[in-house]
Each structure stands twice: as structure tokens, then as C-alpha cells.
Symmetry: C2
């Protein structure tokens, strides 16, 4: 079972009352700098500061009342944890979040602030999975994976539906890729909405497992990646990978310097806060490794959650 | 001669092709924090990163072709200089900008980047005025004052027209006050669009000349103000003051700590970059010196031009 265009359209209807229809910004200095006409889809201005709220919301509101009564659960220390906690809170159901005990305090507080019930575990994948399993058995909660989940993929695809509604004549869409939830949903929604549109992914050079997976024709796990783009360190999901193989034109890798420069340029010129993972998508244009000159390019700015005390361009 | 509502409506028509209709953002954590329903009018996302572009654009496009051929001129080292340079560039006419020789390099570069022709002078008001006079006589350029100018006031008033078009049922509008260009335009546009709407100004405690002027019933010049809100250090203009006396309910002063806290909260939660002068308007709500609880409040975020290497919450 995969995800259909109809699933994404239904997701859009379902989550509409709960999400922000985020603005699309343009910036002439950016256009001049990269030589294309850029349309920034500002999912950093989405609730919880990331597109992740779309997928979480779609999963939560897809449940029957009976299922929902048991709540939802996941393991995550990132934006997905906050997104699921808020979506559950809005529906009035519990969210059980498994987090590694060494997760930053700011992330624990954010999840707790949205009403998520946290269970801490050892910081290993095995511990996270076995702890999540126990939570699920204890509570009967519905597991919502951050990206390897059809409901989540359909939800993430709604961002580009909005973008193409606001700017129908785009030639290219660029999205970042980590586990592949945003990219797979985006690629279905974009190519089904507009025949011939090109979908390109940005990935950190220092965490280029998706790039290598597509080359190899099979999922190559991400091992010990070092990029500052901490939202893009996961391995591709089993559901996400074939969709990406099928619908994404290419994956372009971006250096850490490119990520920092693109991030700072967007802050300085567009006056919005984007996180390094979002800057990776801009970085594809910034580093000019592919020629898109003169085209109309939609870029999905995936999120804006950054520690303001510690910025990548500061010593 | 003052500014009529009709002038503002005409300005809106005139500048529409050149400006951004900026988005209005809402943020639930901000609402909870300050106890009112806030609508952020994002003029930090305006061209050149500030509302100043509206007034400059209206002045430039108000000129006849014959007048325009001689160009425009002003003395300013702030957002107005960039705004006037860009508006003139768009019309294809010269902009002559008088700047003090000690203006920060980043500001000189920004004006030059928009094609402004800079004349440097000693950093005194006398030198700036006499230099501007000479430039005007040499070139025949039309002087566009940053705020004490009817065309500029009418242009600045268009931001709140857009805001009330997007969110018609606001109870209160808050804008920052420096020279009074934004506040006077805003107060005319708001009170003429919606009878009974309350217009409140935010001003730094450390640069509270407008607050004292209204109390005294006459303009009290700003002397050596020390606030970090560097866009709000000017004295009120002769044209602006009576409009403010007539239409603004009250001026609320905001501490430097309040400015920093409000600024950081907006960056962290709303994911947009605002400058200290914009944070002053948020600071009115943040410091809760007046009771607006439960009301719908529009806040004009005046600009987003900040040195990213040096943030007020960093040591």
C-alpha cells in the first residue's frame, strides 16, 4: 500500500481547520543571487515551526473516535514529537512521546509544553523501539512514525498543494530530504497536480544516504552523519523510498558551508528564521550545482526551530 | 495642509504594483503570553525590510515626470535612505542620499546597493541639512523627508489599510513612534476605516520624547536618546504631531529589557526577524502596562533590519 494523490487531497481537507495556510514569500536579492525566480513556501511559519505539524495532524484526525481515545505515540526528539503532541492536544487525546534521556532540555520542555507525556529511555535505537513497543502495549495508543507512515506522507504533501494553488506556474520544486516524508508527499502532490513539473531534493553532503540509496537502487542506512542539518539525519523509510525513486528527478548534495551561507542570507534578506535543514533546500540554488537559470522554482522551507543562543555563523 | 483619508487611499492605489502586500501572522503562544489576540502585520517582510518603502514609494510616484527627472534627495542613514534609493531605482530616476561620514559600512553598502548616490557630511544635524540643501540646489532633486512629509505619511498609512482589509474586526492598533510618520499615517487610516478603533503607540522609555510632547502639548525635542531601538530616536515632526494629538489614544513607554524580551520571543516563536524598533510595539503588550485583555490587537512590525553578528540577548 502506498499513498495516492486522492489521499493528499483528503488530508488537505481534513487538516485545513487546524493548520496555517503559510505564506509564500519572494525576494529580489535572492533571485539575483541565484539566477532563478524563487518562491519560498514558509513552513517555518507553520504551527510548531515546521511542516511536521501537517503529517501529525493528518494522522491524528484520521483516527476513528474509538482509536483516538487511546491516544497516539511515537519516538522522536525533534519537530515530529512537538507536532504530534500539539495535534493530539487539539483533538483532546493523549500523546505518548518516547525520548532519549540525553535529549536537549529545550526539546523536552517544548514537548511537555504541548502536553506530551514523555517516557525517557537510553539513547539507542533499540531502547527507543522497545520502549515505544511497551508504551503502545500499555496504552493501546496508535503509533505515528515520523515519516514511514502513509498518513504522515499524505499530510506532508499538502504544503506543495497550497504552494501550487498560490503560484500555479512553477517549473521546479525543491524540498530537503531526511527520512523522506516531506519529499515523498511533495513529489506525489507536485507531479499529480502539474504534469512535467520537476521535483529536486537537497541533502547535506555530510548525510548523503538518500543520494547514495538512489544511486544504489536500495536503501543505504545513514551511519553516524555529522551535518548541522539535524532534521535530515535519518535513513530513508521503506514506504518513502520507492516513491522517491519514481518521482524525484535528482538529489543534490549541499556542503556545510553552503548550508550556513544560505541560512544567513535568508535571515538577512528575507527576514525569516529558518533552521539548517530548511537551508539545505535553498543551498541547492545557492551552490549552483545544477542549472535552473530563468526558471520559476518553489522551495519548501521546512522549519524554523533554532537555538538563538548558538548560531552557525558565530564563533 | 495635512493628510486626508483620501490621500491614503490614493497612495494605496499608487504604490500597489511596487510593494509587497505583507502577510498577517498569528501565534498562539504569543496570545497566551500577553492575554490578547494578536495579529502581526509583517512590514519586516516589506521590500528593504521596513514599512519605510511605502512612504518613499508614494513620494517618488507622486512626482510628475518633469519633477521626477531631477530625482529625489534626503538625509538619512537608516531604512528611509534604502527605501528612497530603491523606489527611485524602480522609477528609473536618481536618488541623492546625504549620510554622515561615520555611518556604519553596512548601511552605506545597502544604500549604494540600491543605486543611491551618496554624499557624505560631518555627523551633525547642521552639516546634514546644509549638505542636503546644496545637493538640492545642484541637482534640482525633490526633497523627501523621512516622516515630516504628507506624501510619506499617506504612504505609511497604507499598511494598516491592508491589515484592516485582512482582519476587519480589530479593536486596537499598536504602532511604534519615532518621528511619527508611521503613527500619524496609521492613526488616520485606522480611525477613518473603523469608527471607535483605538490607536496606541509604543515608545522606548529611553527615548520618550513623544510621550512627553503629548503631555506637554508641544513638541519636546529628543535629546541624546540611548535606546537600542535606533529607528525611534528622532524628534516628532511638525506635521505629524497634531495628527497624533488628535487621533492617538495614548503613548506607552517600554523598557530596554522589555524590548529585548519581546524581540527574542517573536524570533523564537513566530520565526520572523524583527528589529528592536518593531519589538517596541510588541513590548506594549509584553509589559502589560495597560489592560487590553481579550481584545483583538493589530501590531505593526515596522522592520527587520538587524546586524546578525550582534544580537541584544548575546554577551
Amino acid at each position: 500500500m502506498s499513498v495516492s494523490f486522492r489521499d493528499i487531497q483528503q488530508a488537505a481537507e481534513r487538516i485545513k481547520p487546524y493548520i496555517h495556510h503559510t505564506p509564500v514569500l519572494t525576494n529580489e536579492s535572492l533571485n539575483r543571487q541565484v539566477g532563478v525566480q524563487v518562491f519560498l513556501k514558509c513552513e517555518n511559519l507553520q504551527k510548531v515551526g515546521a511542516f511536521k505539524f501537517r503529517g501529525a495532524c493528518n494522522a491524528v484526525y484520521s483516527l476513528s473516535d474509538e482509536e483516538a481515545a487511546h491516544g497516539v505515540c511515537t519516538h522522536s526528539s525533534g519537530n515530529h514529537a512537538q507536532a504530534l503532541a500539539l495535534a493530539a492536544k487539539m483533538r483532546g487525546i493523549p500523546a505518548y512521546i518516547v525520548m532519549p534521556s540525553n535529549a536537549p532540555l529545550v526539546k523536552k520542555n517544548a514537548v511537555a509544553g504541548y502536553g506530551g507525556q514523555i517516557t525517557f529511555c537510553e539513547p539507542t535505537l533499540e531502547a527507543r523501539e522497545s520502549t515505544l513497543d511497551r508504551v503502545r502495549l500499555d496504552t493501546g495508543a496508535n503509533v505515528v512514525h515520523p515519516y514511514n507512515d502513509e498518513r504522515v506522507i499524505a499530510g506532508q504533501g499538502t504544503a506543495v498543494l497550497e504552494l501550487l494553488e498560490d503560484v500555479p506556474d512553477l517549473d521546479v520544486i525543491i524540498a530537503p530530504v531526511g527520512g523522506g516524508g516531506l519529499l515523498s508527499g511533495t513529489s506525489i502532490a507536485a507531479t499529480e497536480t502539474k504534469k512535467g513539473i520537476r521535483v529536486i531534493a537537497g541533502e547535506p553532503e555530510m548525510a548523503d544516504d538518500a543520494f547514495r540509496s538512489v544511486k544504489a537502487g536500495k536503501i543505504i542506512p545513514s551511519t553516524n552523519p555529522k551535518s548541522m542539518a539535524d532534521g535530515l539525519l535519518s535513513s530513508l523509510g521503506q514506504i518513502n523510498f520507492p516513491i522517491i525513486q519514481d518521482r524525484v528527478e535528482q538529489i543534490v548534495t549541499v556542503s556545510e558551508t553552503g548550508i550556513t551561507e544560505a541560512m544567513k542570507f535568508i535571515w538577512e534578506r528575507a527576514k525569516i528564521i529558518i533552521e539548517p535543514s530548511a537551508a539545505v533546500a535553498v543551498g541547492v540554488l545557492w551552490e549552483k550545482k545544477i542549472d535552473l537559470s530563468g526558471l520559476k522554482v518553489g522551495v519548501i522551507l521546512s522549519g524554523g526551530n533554532v537555538d538563538l543562543e548558538k548560531l552557525p555563523w558565530q564563533p
